[in-house]
Symmetry: C2
Subunit: 135 residues, 2 copies
DNA sequence: CCGTATCCTGTAAGATACTG
DNA sequence: CAGTATCTTACAGGATACGG
């Protein structure tokens, strides 16, 4: 592997992170990074939700997109869906233990965001770039 | 706000995360989540890199995309670019302190990935979904 | 209430070729 | 070496309407 040479820098951080290139961080970031999933998971973290409740809570999401996200999260074992055969129909979504474990890395991202996001926004004002503005 | 009712669940986690809905976690996740940025930052974490070095290290990236990502990271103050007016030309990219601070949330994601990603992959095998497979 | 079904759009990214 | 210039593709997401 010639991707990284930890000796190039004295810091211990580099060594720590060299391995990450072989680890599945990227797919997990895809998982976390999809536009709505974080809001869905955060809402579910506050308690079980029905479809329409989520739809209201996650402002702006369309039913199609909400369904798609929920199905994906369910497939990955992060969210569980319980269907009640009643009239009118009822479906309840909640976080699985695996889904709840995601709150830990979320927290780290959140902490970083609170501390540094303002700095980035300041920089962006009056600048332009090819890269997405992320918001 | 009626987006979340922390009292719905006894757990302390919910209260902790209720605030996150108002915080800039999402844009930061966009920042981290762009397909290549994590690999770029991780490589730069190991030491200063020239354009071509990054191109080799980040396997599969095209120069256009690499440039676009680097410009965005530079705009946001995560990466600095130093140009040497020499022949042949030389440009060196490195992480700013702000960029290095990103390694902390990365680490949290990475830890989660190592612990739980296998579980998710197992679940995905033999299943299909509307959601992107993320890898 | 809980979704599906279509159609459409925006944009990151890929392929390829070229320049200071 | 360090990029830029086009063109094209893939796909999450948006708008809107309908079905069980």
């Amino acid at each position: 592997m010639d991707t990284i040479d930890p000796d190039q820098r004295g810091s211990g951080t580099a060594v720590l992170l060299a391995d990450t290139l072989d680890c599945p961080s990227r797919p997990v970031l895809d998982l976390l990074g999809s536009k709505w999933s974080v809001l869905i998971i955060l809402n579910l973290a506050a308690g079980t939700c029905r479809f329409t409740e989520l739809r209201k809570a996650v402002t702006g999401i369309t039913p199609k997109v909400l369904t798609a996200n929920l199905r994906g999260l369910e497939r990955d074992g992060l969210v569980s869906r319980e269907i009640f055969a009643e009239v009118p129909p009822r479906t309840e979504y909640s976080l699985t233990p695996l889904g709840e474990s995601l709150l830990v890395p979320y927290k780290a991202v959140q902490d970083w965001a609170w501390e540094h996001w303002g700095t980035i926004l300041e920089r962006r004002e009056g600048q332009s770039a090819t890269r997405p503005a992320a918001g």
